[in-house]
Chain length 316, copies 2
């Protein structure tokens, strides 16, 4: 099959990569559309030391594996748990210490014609969702994860730092709670995408921090936490979303002095995201920057790496 392959130094289009396998509990999925995430770009900078086929956002159809799934249009959760450890028994399968993570850690990903995934990770896509909406489920679930970790309601003042793809999704999701959400970013055009949802926006250059209850750090930058600390009120909460390969250098004294809580936040469950998307509560199509065929996948990742680029998709 055709696949994009990262060998630790170069990303190349492999034309005859061995196809993955399926079995009674593992589905083979014919990928139709895959999304490029900032984490993929970090992987190309060495993050996680991953080698193989990157990609963890996809929608496709099951072509082989458990018979009841064959032919279904699906999206899939990216953490492949062992099912046998203490974390799995406790219901924290996403935190299984033995897990593989699609396109990130020990498992090939979605920048390929086919991928192999545990059947239990799959979710059927509601019929009213197009592929170019369903491909956003994984990052949208990561945005919904915030609501499972932090109490946010209509009384909350929330600041989202970063008008990248994840920041735009987080701002929309948190706005569903009735909270007063402000999105701060560098790009007036991107900020404009969420203005119609009642989200306040500020261009970074003009922004001055005022204390808020909750800050979502989605800058994708190693200076994001320091910015967030400047805006969190005493006893406020910072939700940290950015995973960057670089180290952070910052003073943590404000965290202690103001008794701020920093909550690391990664992947989320898919069902709340699927439901919100199927109900038309979140607009994802305006976030699409460009769709490339897999054959131009190397160009697609280069495009996605340009500052200010929104979601780049691979049509496969």
């Amino acid at each position: 099959m055709r696949a994009l392959h990262w060998d630790g130094e170069r990303l190349t289009l492999a034309l005859s990569h061995p196809a993955p396998k399926s079995d009674d509990v593992t589905a083979l999925v014919r990928v139709r559309l895959a999304g490029i995430c900032s984490t993929d770009l970090q992987i190309l900078k060495g993050y996680m030391g991953f080698h193989g086929i990157p990609g963890h956002e996809f929608v496709g159809e099951v072509s082989d594996g458990p018979v009841e799934l064959v032919g279904r249009r699906v999206v899939g959760e990216i953490n492949f748990a062992c099912g046998r450890c203490e974390s799995c028994a406790g219901g924290f399968r996403r935190h299984c210490p033995n897990r593989r993570v699609m396109g990130i850690l020990g498992a090939d990903g979605s920048f390929a014609e086919y991928l192999s995934i545990p059947a239990e990770n799959l979710h059927a896509v509601p019929g009213n969702l197009d592929n170019d909406e369903a491909v956003f489920i994984e990052p949208l679930a990561a945005a919904f994860e915030i609501l499972e970790q932090v109490e946010i309601d209509f009384t909350s003042k929330v600041l989202v730092l970063g008008d990248g793809k994840l920041g735009l999704l987080c701002a929309q999701v948190l706005s569903l709670t009735g909270a007063r959400v402000t999105l701060v970013g560098r790009h007036p055009k991107k900020l404009g995408l969420v203005k119609k949802f009642g989200i306040r926006t500020d261009v970074l250059a003009d922004w001055r921090p005022t204390p808020v209850d909750v800050v979502i750090e989605a800058t994708g930058s190693s200076t994001g936490l320091e910015m967030a600390l400047s805006a969190a009120r005493s006893r406020g909460t910072i939700v940290m979303k950015s995973t960057v390969a670089r180290e952070h250098t910052l003073s943590l004294a404000p965290l202690v002095i103001n008794e701020v809580t920093v909550v690391g936040s990664r992947c989320g469950r898919f069902p709340p995201a699927l439901e919100a998307l199927a109900q038309g509560k979140i607009a994802v199509k305006p976030l699409i920057e460009k769709v490339y065929p897999l054959s131009h996948g190397v160009d697609a990742l280069q495009h996605a790496a340009q500052p200010g680029t929104l979601k780049v998709l691979l049509k496969i």
Copy 2:
């Protein structure tokens, strides 16, 4: 009066420093015993840009001010709130943005014969407590603050990093919950002080991180958070106690990936600490390294700054 004075460059013993004032709501306290805290040592490295009389741990007697207090033996909370802002109205006086902090920010401290303090900050010392126990109330309250921020009970695995003064107090306080507490530090002698309370101990050189529910970062070092991140389980909690003048350089990716929560933790309310100490639940006297007269205060702070030193007190 005599006082230790920090001018931003040198700590000196002033022999005729102007005595502070009292009024209807402000007490004048004749300091009897003051404790030297790591924060004081950080101040001498430039932390908070403080100039004046350092010191925020003390026990003494009210010599002037509100009549009902005169003659009482007291300890005092260190945050002087404005009483008029939103934080104060909401009951978060310790986080008043207009606050002064004794010996740390905009208010002279306890390394002096007399100090001036809002009467509302004072707590009477129970008769059965000696001065050399009562002087530990402020750091002990900071240890109890953890229990107001994080749920810890007999099912919890807790790791305390740092066998300094605060680490030794935190280990004892958290052990009161029935939690399985392990204290890790550099000094077998200091670790030995808490072994009898059923606290496990590990010498840092031999310690290998295994995942725990809660890590208390009390290393006083800019590398403490990175150590704590290596030991917190997925979705675990790190309570950060160290305020250091230096910047931290670390990778925060583990925080996001493992969805760890980091809780900044500073001062606490005095009543729980006073009660535990009066009931003999916490042993503080073994933590005393040496008592100096105020006239040798400069030497006392130099002694306190030696690595591995326990609590140095000033008798005034």
